[in-house]
Structures are given as C-alpha cells and as structure tokens.
Symmetry: C2
Subunit: 782 residues, 2 copies
C-alpha cells in the first residue's frame, strides 16, 4: 500500500516494525533525523519518535523538518477525465496552447527582470561599499576602513540571515537541489512558496552584496522555479482569483513543465546563457524530459536573453548607477592565443586531473560543513543569524588583511585605464600602496566576485605567491560559507577558486607553454566545475556563452570530461550530496545492482486496503482516517462482476472531493451517467500542496455513513501495472521513467486477488529495500 | 501476438483478413505499396499480394522494398542473463566501461577523419572543375567552357548514381530519416550496412562535386551512424574476428547508444559544431535518451572537433591542394552590426513568417517530387542513373546560363582581394565581363554551395534582381534534386535558398533598417531551416557555432521559433514526411487522440500462441514454422503449478539457439542448474539483422521431435505488462518510452488465462488501429 504521507502514517505500523532493522545501517544523517524528530515533531507525531524509517515521508527543507509528498505525473484517466476531455472544444485547445506559451513568456519576462534587478542592486550596494572603503584607505584611515568594510558586510549579512531565518527558512542554500527534487517528483510546499521567492530574491542580493563567497546563480534557478510555480497555481480559488481555463494546468505534469522552464530561465538569466540554460535544465535539473519541452524551454530562455539585452541597452546610458559592464557577467577572452601543442595538452590533462581531485575534495568538505552547520542551525533562528555573522566577520578579516602580505607593484606604463583604478571594479587597486603603485592581491579580494573572476581570466600578470594565497583563501572560505542560512549559489565560489587554481597552474607551466595564463584560468574554472557539479555539456555551453569564443570549446570540453571522470571515482556531485543530506527521496535514473536480485513482490509490504466499486461511505471515511495512504485499488465483486475484477485506482484527494459532494445513494447501485452533471472535473483538479480538501473539512452525518457511493467515475481504469515476478530493478526504472506515484502489482497466476500490492516511491528507496534485505548491501557490485 | 516479421507471416492470416477494411482509408502511398508488392514480392510472398496492411513489416529502403524488424531495447532478464550478470567480475565491468568509451573515441575519430576527407575531396574536385571552366571562359571559349562544365558534372553525377544504384540503393537520399527510424526501433539490415557506408562516403563526394544543390551534412550523419553500427557489430563470428568482451555490446541497447553517438558525430563533423551535434542527436535523431548518453555523445563530438582542428592545422601549410578555409564551413560574420530597433524586429518577424510559409511549401513540393521519383526509381538501375543525369544537365544549364542575365559590375576599388578573383572560391567572378568588371551572379552560381553561402552571408552588395533569380533557381533546383539516387543532404539546399531569400528581404527592407543585409541572410537561412526541419535548439546552436557570434543568438532563436510555428500549422517536418513516404513504422512521442477512446484489448488480434514451461520440441518447431511471431508467452500449467501461471516471455531467436544446442530430455522434467554449464549467454547475444540462426539451420531428428526442452532458463520473467483496460494512448506512450518490442496484456479479473494478448509496434500504428476502427478517424480532435 501507499505510505507516502508523513502526516497520517498510523497505518504503517506493520511496516515500521519490519523496518527497525534498518537503523543498524543508518549513518550520521539517520541519527540527525531521529534527533530532529525527538525534538521538533514528537509532540504532534508520536509515531515518528519510534525511530522509524521516515526517509520518504519527511525531509529537511531549510533546516526544518517538513512532511513531503510525491508528485504524480500520470495522466489520471478516469471516466470524469474522459468526459471532460471529450467535451473539450477546439476553442479550449487553442486556449490551452495560448496559455501554455503565455506562461512561458511570463516566466521568461519575470526571471529576466528579476535577474537584471538582482545584478543592478548587487553592483550598486557592493560597489558603494567598496568605493567608501577605498576612499577611506586613500586617506590612510586603514582602521576606520576596516570597521566600515566589516560593519557593512555584517549588517548586510545579518539582514539576509534574518530574512531567511524568520520568513522563509527554505530559501537558504543554493536551491538547485530542491528544484531537482521537485522535478524528480518530491513536493514540499515551502520549497516553491511565494515567501521563499521573496526571500530568495532579496536574501540573495543582500548576501552577495555582503561580500560572501557566494553566487547568485543557484538562487536565480530557484527564483525562476518559484516564479513558474506561482504562475502554475492557476490563481487562487480562495480569493476568487481564478479562471476555468486554468484548470488544465492544475496538475503535476503541466506544473512540472513550467518549473523546468523556470529553472532554465534562471540559469539563462544568471549567466546570460540561453542555450546553457536549456542544457542545464535538461542535464541537471529535470528527471523527465519531452522533446516538446525543449522547444518551450528554449523560448523561455530566448525571452530572458532579449529582456537582458534590452536592460543593458537601457543601462548603457548610465541610468543604473554603478551597474557597468560588470553587472551581467560576460568575460572578454579575445586576447587568448588558442593554438596549442602537445605539451599544452599534457598541461591541460594534469590541470583537469588535479582539478577533479580538488573538486571532489570540495564536495567532501562541503558535505562535512553542511552536516555540522545543520546541528547549529536547528537550534533556532538566533543561532542561524549568529553563524552568518561569524562567517561574515571571518570573511571580512581574510579579505581585508590578506592583501597586506602582497608587495606593491609599480603601475604598468602601457595601459589605457588609470592606475591606481578609480572605479569600484578596477584591476589596479591602490590599497596600502604609495601613488604609482598598486596591490595586485587587493584587486582580487576587494572586488565583487564577478569582477575578481573577470580579472583572473584577463591576460595580466600575478605573482605565484599572491595567486596561491587567493586560491587557498577562496577555496576554504567558499566551503565554510555554504550551509549558512542565506541564499548562496555554488557556481561563483567554484569558478572563483577554479580560476585562481588555473591561473596558478598556468603561471607554473608558463615557461613551457604557448597557451595564455588567462585561458588556463578559464580551464581551471572548468575543471573545478566539472569536479564539483559533474555536468558536462551544459557547463561547456555556459562557459562558451560567458566567453563567446568557440575556439576555446574543445579544450574546455576536454577539461570538463577529465575532471568529471576523476571526481566521479571519489564521490557524488555536490547537488546529489546535498539532496542526500536533506533526506529528499530522490529516485536515481539507474537501479541499484542488488535490485536485480529482487522482484516487485519482495518489497510490497503491509495489508492491501482496497475499495469495492460501490462502497459504503463509512468504510471510506474509516480507511481515510486510519491510514495515510494516497491511492487505493478499486475491485468490483459479485454481483457486479462474475469474479473479483480490477477496476483501477482511486486517489485520496479525489475521494475527499467526491465525499464532499455527497452524491450518495441508499442502495448499492451504480450512479449512472447522471453523476457527470453533478460533479465537475474542475473540482477534482489537483490543488497546490496543502490546499486541497482535508478530512476534517468533511461534514458527513451519521445516517450518511451507511449510504453508498459509486467510485467508478473517479477510478482510473488505466493504472500502470507490473507482474509480481518483475525484477525490482526494471520496476524502479519504469517507475521513474513514467514519473509515477503508484504502481499496481498484479499476480502471475489465477485464483488470487487481481492486485496483490501497490508500489510507491518509498518502496524503491535504497534505505527501505536494504532495511528489508540487509544482507543485500554487501553485494560485490556495490 | 507479435506479427513483426515480414518474411514469415503466414500466421497473420487472421489479422490480415480483419485488416482488409483498412485499404479504404489508404492514400496514394498505400497504393504504391500494393503496386510494389504485386511487382516485386508476390512470387515469394503470396500473402502480401492480398492487399494487406504491411505497414510494420516492410518499408522502402533506397527505393527497394525491404523487410524490417523491430528492435528491442528491453533488458531481457531471463535466468541465463542473471547467471551471467552475477558471474561478472570487476575486471569485466572495467572492460565494458573501457570498451564503451573506446568505441566512442573510435566513432569520433572515424567520423572526424571521414568528414575531413570528404571536405578535402570535394574542394579539390569541384575546385579544379571550376578553375578549368573559368580559365576557358577567360579565353572567351564560352561554348567549350559549358561543355566542359556540364560534361564534368554529368560524369561525376553518373558515377555517384551508379554507385548508389548498383552497390547500395539504401545510400540514396539524406539518411537522416533512416537513422531516425533506427533510433526509434526500426531495423532494416541495409540501412547501416558496410556497403551503405562505402557508397555514402564516395557517393556524397561525387554528388557534391558534381555541382548538385545537395549537401554533405545529412550523408555525414548517416556515415557517422554506419561507422558506429559497424563497430557495434562486435566483430564477425564468421571470420573468427570477435572477442568475448564484445558480447556485452551485442544487444540493441548498446548499439542504439553507439549509433546515437555516431549521428551526433556526423553533425559535429559536417558543421564543425560539437554542441550542435549533441543537440541534434537529442532533438531530432534520438527517440530515447538517457542523461548518461549526453556525456558520451559530448565526448564523441569533442573528439571530432579535435580531429578537425588538427586536420585544418595540417592543411594550413598548403598540403591539401585547393582545400582552403572554405573546406570546413565556418562563416565570418564579424562585420555585422547587431544593435537593433523595433522596426528591425518587425522586419525579422515578417521574415520569419514568410520563411515558415516557404519552408512548408518546400516540404510540400519535396514530398510530391519524391513520390514521383520513386515511381521512376523503381523501374530499375538504368532509370535511376538517367534521372540523375537529367537533373545534372538541368542544373548545369541553369547554373551556366542564368548568370548571363546579370549586368557586369565594376570592381570595387577599396578591396584587398584581387578583382576579378583568381582562385576558385572568390567573390568576384569575371565570367563574361571585360577586365575590371565582375559578374555578381556568377560568383553565386559558379561556386561550391558552401562558398555561395559564405558570399551571401558576407557584407557585400547584390542587386535585388540577381538575388531574386538566384533564390528562385536554388529553391526549385533544390526541390527537384532531392529524391534522385545519390546521397543528398537537405541542410545546404535549405540554407542556400534561405540565405538568398534573407538577403533579398534584407535588400528590400534596407532603407528602414539598421541591421546588416548579411545578417538578414543568416536569419533567412534560419527561417528556412526552421520551416523545413522544425528543429529549434539544435539549429540555433549549429548556426551559432557556424558564425561564432553569440550576440546573434536571440534574433536567430526568434526567427527559428516563428518559422517553425508557422510551418507546423501547414504540414510535418521534412524528415517526418520522408519517413512516412518510406513507410517506416515510426512511433510518435505522443499518442493519437482517438487512442484515448480505445483500450489495450481493443487492438489485440489473432489467436494467442503460448508455450508451456517445459515444451515438446515438435510443438516449438511447428509454431516457429507456421508463424512469423517473435515473442511467445510461457505459461506454467499443472502439475508444475496449481493454476496456469505466467512465467514470462521467450524470443524466437533464443528458441532457435536453444534448439540448436539440443539440450532435450525424454521426460517432462525441469532441466535444473546443470543446464547453465551447457549453454552460454554469449550464444544468445543478439546477432546483427539477418545474421542469427535460421529455422533452416536446425537439424532436428524425428525422434527428437517428441522430446522436451525446458524453456525456463531463457524465459524473461520480467515482461512489461498492461492491464486489458489500459487506455491505448497510455499503452502507446509506455511502449515508446521504454523502447519495447513486446508488451503483455494481462486480464483484469480472475479465472482467465494469465496473458490475454501481446502488443507490438504494429498494433500502435495508426494504419492498423484505424483499420480496425475506421469510424475513429473522423474524431474532431484530429
């Protein structure tokens, strides 16, 4: 039976007891959960305290435990749907298509505008801060300059943390793992709630402006997804702000498609990379993909690109304050020499291998740090804010004091820009140096992250020692920053550390190479990205779109492939790790090897609860009260059929709507066609999580409990089935490929009930399967 | 039951008779088939003459009818497989991974080298031809020049046609529809045979050199797929050139993955567009896609890019004859102004809309022309060659005589190249003009197609009249060229006509626009590509990679989207049309609307033939002789089980191997574990089409016919099933998403056999379904 709902899982006791063996195999995070559940949930959820396997019922969303549900991408073909489908006129189909593309347009516009606003705000806030600090330093007021710098950073950081801690804890972190989980079929209301959107936008601006080693790219992906989700709610019935035309979007399939577009738009908006955005959505974010979606996603990112272009044209007249060409990152690499020899290829291979190792080390350390921080974060909002402030102070200290160790360099004479620089993003920061000199390290540290990357990728000179200090600093500060309670993207820290690393390697190999050191910085960034995020095509294209030079592509691709391959032999990608830490029940695209040794029936647990085609109201109420299950097989029995016969499957939410409508009869007879006049497909459309009718909303009187209700009109007669001898591996892949929530297990022989069990997401989770069959774990294939 | 095999379909009589109603609804192409079958096949295939529905059993491959089979992408989990799988050691897994990537490397290397060789050959042959013609014209020998030009063209054309007609008819045409069909699960041996590869390479070189309006892009995709297929055969058992390690690749899944890589490598090699290649494979070629494949495809195209780069470096020293920068197309658009206003956007929209209309007109005319040509082509090899020669003559005449209508233009004074041009690819052809003058139209006509496109995209001046003549000429010559018996890509004709069209529109809008007319030529090419091929992302990226300027992307994307949308309202994409003409049973990604009104059981036909778990040898031989079915359910019956019980499904090919091994017993008893010592998974690996054991190869003696053979070890106990009430639409999508060959239909109630039918590709074909339910066709949703 289905056991997906974390709120009402009294019915899972049988299985809970069976699962107790699981805890032996549980790792650190498993114990976290138990602590969490003891502390936060036990007063309302007595069963959770029993150290049960709660993998698929609950996850950490923004450092809080949160009940989660599975999404259902199946087309639920019941009679009601078919009636509605047949009654659709041409005009409604046109309406649907227009709305579909209209939504894509709106997602593109919204995400593009937010991305632009974000950049303008960050450039202005961070730019003013840096200018003020620099002006104090020019007056030799070094102490005051530090206080101002650190104070402003801390203020901005505290504001970001407060937003996160008090308004939307789910907005903390990158957001890409959450979007990935949603698109895999895991729903938790707060992941894509409006409050999350609000905090994600403003928290990200404050956090990046505060000088943290964080990016706005991950948050932009999350923002795009939130905007799409908001549009996909189809208005609000509560406030009457809805329209019947929206009902075709009130299902998980259409919402998923829109959120995929939103994620692509986020990347497109953050990197100004429309093709990269589409590929990111395809390669990393989405678990299901249709060819038609490629087109719609592409349209969305094209809209984003046009919005950004128009905005930049608008700003080119100086109306956007300090927002300059640095605002929407686009790196100028036109100075690179891209002809290369065999020696260069060897150097690139070495760079890729070491980059892969460092990337997987990055993942390893981020994992440890996030686990440690989650202990602090769960202690409450104040602790979250204190942690943010502490990291902010540490960052400020490093960034302000480390440049002092670098020597002052005489200004080059053959340059066109002024030295020392006078604007906030200049390459030649005077810092503590006398006039006519500049501090190369300060130009990296006392700049926005975007500008620091731009300087690293440019063809200038840096001392090996300076580069080493910068690399070590941003590598470790980046690691300890992820996991604090602010929206924090991982792309920029990784690119920054990677570019510093690449530039360092480039400087070391300089004597034997023909390639530019600036190009090596780009390859270093690629190697780190490949080593941490483990994407290939999308990163290659994003880097291509950032640099706008196709000739670089082959070497960038080679570096990405090498570093990903090396890193894959150590651990998983950083987003997969975070998914795991958060306990989001992510279904992998491949089945675990031991699943080949099991069949579907092996993991079916619990007594199967079924309904008759025409069922007593009281029975339904009782079942809904006593279990948290979400799908129930409907079996017709004599006298309505000769032998027990599978009608299909009904959903809890549909049962609740049907009961609310009170279309009951005193006799056990079919409802007939007249029922379709009384119920409407609109009422059965899937509401957003937490918004549908609840059991308590029903008002069934005592005498109605003995009446009957015909379930046939709402029974999906096309349930997906597997035969009981189906290998679990194949069943798992089938389940994920189709994006199901329930899958019926049918018997292989006659004389048994037509359904012998139901499989859900939970049943495919390695924790569950290995809990039932602990000896499987030691299989050599693991 | 399965009815996929066109060779032995005596068993399909029941269904054939049922299908007779189908012919009423058949269109022109249906009658073609009947003619074909009357003529070519009736002497061996009496049943086919009965005007039966042969959609899924036979298709036109290279103008010949050819029996086709379905591929099976299911992991066939029988006991033998599991034994083999469990026995695999770590070293074998590593071996598999190394081989997998090694094959990808080889595909990339092979396709890259062929692509380069192809370019060098074309540039040298066509270049010499053009130089000789031009030198005769300089001496005012216009008549001799025409004879030479037309004669050389005709000779090259005849050679290409002869290769195609006599060696590999399947090599004619683009090849992309065939690759698309293969990746959808349709197998015909000749599609990817070594002879096809040979003719595709040399026929394409000869055809392009002959001055036809054809490209080498489609043939390169086919070539890449052929190279991949050749590698995927896993050596030849016949010549002992095989190795046990290859056996893991002897299945349709791994072959499909390799051929997807090959298709991507083909595009990458033709356009020097590695990312475009990956996206092409994803968007257009492949029907199934896994995230892991993205990575491998990307690696393959990266290898291609590196090979091409190295080759160009090699040629830059002048070792490749006339092969210059024109060899591997890459257009220089650096002169474009890409700032645009509202008026420009309106012009681009108009361009896109008209481009879409013209693109769909292109498809419509190509469709008519191909249908007409196929009547000529089927008359025999001589007719094929004559048709090619006729088209060649027509093309030569147009190309040689049309430039005479253009006026002579005085040479510009501010240019760095010589005027009139002295090399073969120059922009300023002297043609009939006096010294100091050049003929603008001749520079378009008397050049290779690649160079003509380059000149159109460059920022120079053309007379509106000249552009109009060129546009009309290439538009119609391109249409009448496709379908003749030479390898002929569609990309270049479409780009050429589109660029001329765009340039023409650009000239007309010139007074009110800020955009460059050269840029308009690019947008025109995009609008034609979108209008004919209906791809978006991949074409956008290919154009991006061809022009290497990211700033153009938003407008290119807009044009592609507009033209695709407009064209989609008229007809299908050109490759889908060709698939349809060839009768390849392509499964669409979406189900037809009327399928929602049917359930799985509605399309199940014929008596179901099943085997017992331990079956008499004679029964098996009899069934295999009397039907062409490919999969048979295995049912255990008492005394081996209490009630009839579904064991799984066996394949014809596996049965043949088992029978050949003669592991029979006199008693009806299970074979036990000892059987796994006698049979090996290697023997059951899927051979290439037409290579496996045939029924005639068996040598069963009379007394063995009464013995028993245990089918359990080769029975797939994990067949995919649908319940009989499953909506046909959902079943069709499931079938395609999983890439199945057989799907079992299970009953919804007790007391009936555990399997009530088998669904195959054939059962989902609209021709079959509408044949059973003709009234469905008129549904308003159509």
């Amino acid at each position: 039976m289905d056991k997906e709902d974390g709120v009402n899982n009294h019915g899972d006791e049988v299985q809970d007891i069976e699962n107790n063996g699981l805890l032996d195999g549980k790792e650190e995070i498993g114990m976290h959960w138990s602590e969490f559940s003891d502390r936060n949930i036990s007063h309302t959820q007595p069963l959770l305290a029993k150290r049960t396997n709660i993998t698929s019922q609950i996850a950490i969303v923004g450092a809080n435990l949160c009940p989660i549900e599975s999404l259902d991408y199946e087309i639920f073909e019941n009679e009601l749907f078919k009636q509605d489908w047949r009654s659709r006129k041409k005009v409604q189909i046109v309406q649907y298509v227009i709305l579909k593309w209209g939504f894509a347009l709106l997602i593109g516009l919204g995400t593009g505008v937010v991305g632009f606003f974000n950049s303008v705000a960050v450039e202005n806030i961070a730019g003013s801060k840096l200018l003020m600090t620099a002006s104090l330093m020019t007056k030799n007021k070094y102490y005051e300059a530090f206080l101002l710098y650190a104070g402003l950073n801390m203020g901005l950081a505290a504001a970001a943390a407060a937003l996160c801690a008090f308004i939307a804890p789910a907005a903390a972190g990158s957001g890409i793992p959450e979007v990935k989980a949603y698109l895999n079929g895991v729903d938790a209301h707060s992941i894509l709630a409006p409050s999350t959107l609000f905090v994600k936008i403003f928290g990200s601006i404050l956090g990046v402006s505060a000088g943290f080693v964080v990016g706005k790219e991950g948050p932009m992906v999350h923002t795009g997804a939130c905007i799409a989700s908001l549009l996909g709610q189809g208005g609000s019935r509560k406030y009457g702000l809805t329209w019947k035309g929206f009902r075709y979007f009130k299902n998980d399939r259409d919402r998923r498609d829109m959120i995929t577009c939103g994620a692509a738009a986020g990347v497109a908006s953050a990197f100004r990379a429309p093709v990269g955005g589409v590929l990111f959505a395809l390669e990393e974010a989405a678990s299901w993909w249709r060819s038609a979606l490629l087109w719609r996603t592409f349209f969305t990112t094209a809209v984003v690109a046009i919005v950004l272009r128009a905005s930049i044209q608008f700003c080119s007249t100086g109306k956007c304050g300090l927002f300059g060409k640095g605002g929407l990152i686009m790196y100028d690499v036109s100075a690179y020499k891209v002809s290369y020899s065999g020696a260069d290829l060897v150097a690139v291979l070495i760079l890729g291998i070491i980059g892969g190792i460092l990337g997987s080390l990055y993942n390893y350390l981020v994992d440890k740090v996030v686990r440690t921080y989650s202990i602090i974060n769960e202690k409450g909002a104040a602790f979250k804010i204190l942690l943010v402030i502490a990291i902010s102070l540490l960052t400020s200290c490093c960034y302000y004091f480390l440049p002092w160790v670098a020597p002052c360099t005489p200004c080059p004479t053959n340059i066109t820009t002024s030295c020392p620089s006078v604007d906030e993003s200049g390459e030649y920061k005077r810092f503590q140096c006398p006039p006519g000199y500049y501090n190369a390290l300060a130009s990296l540290f006392l700049n926005t992250n975007d500008d620091a990357i731009r300087i690293l990728l440019a063809s200038g000179g840096f001392h090996v020692f300076s580069l080493f200090i910068f690399f070590v600093a941003v590598f470790f500060i980046g690691i300890i920053t992820y996991g604090i309670a602010i929206p924090s993207g991982l792309f920029i820290p990784v690119i920054l550390a990677g570019a510093a690393y690449g530039r360092l390697v480039g400087r070391i190999f300089d004597p034997v190479m023909t390639l530019d050191t600036g190009f090596f910085a780009l390859l270093g960034a690629a190697s780190f990205l490949g080593g941490t995020m483990r994407m290939t095509v999308s990163l290659g294209v994003i880097l291509l779109e950032l640099t706008n030079d196709l000739l670089l592509l082959p070497l960038v691709m080679l570096t990405l492939l090498v570093s990903k391959t090396v890193a894959d032999s150590f651990n998983k990608g950083v987003y997969d790790q975070i998914l795991h830490i958060k306990g989001l029940p992510y279904l992998e695209a491949h089945a675990e090897p031991y699943m080949r040794n099991l069949v579907a029936l092996d993991v079916v647990t619990g007594p199967l609860i079924t309904f008759s085609g025409i069922e007593k109201v009281g029975n339904i109420i009782h079942v809904l009260e006593s279990t948290g299950h979400n799908g129930f097989p409907v079996i017709d029995e004599p006298p309505f059929s000769d032998t027990p016969e599978l009608c299909g499957i009904v959903l809890r939410s549909h049962l609740l709507v049907l009961l609310k409508g009170k279309n009951f009869s005193r006799e056990r007879v079919p409802a007939g066609q007249s029922i379709f006049k009384k119920i409407s497909a609109f009422d059965f459309a899937k509401a957003g999580l937490g918004k549908g009718i609840k059991l308590d909303d029903l008002d069934i009187e005592e005498e109605e409990m003995d009446m009957y209700v015909d379930l046939h009109p709402i029974t999906n007669a096309s349930p997906y089935t597997v035969v009981e001898t189906m290998s679990l591996a194949k069943a798992a892949i089938l389940f994920r490929q189709l994006g199901l929530r329930h899958m019926c297990v049918v018997p292989k022989s006659q004389g048994r009930p037509p359904v012998v069990g139901i499989l859900t997401r939970h049943d495919f989770m390695p924790e569950h399967v290995l809990g039932l069959y602990p000896h499987m774990k030691s299989h050599k294939w693991d």
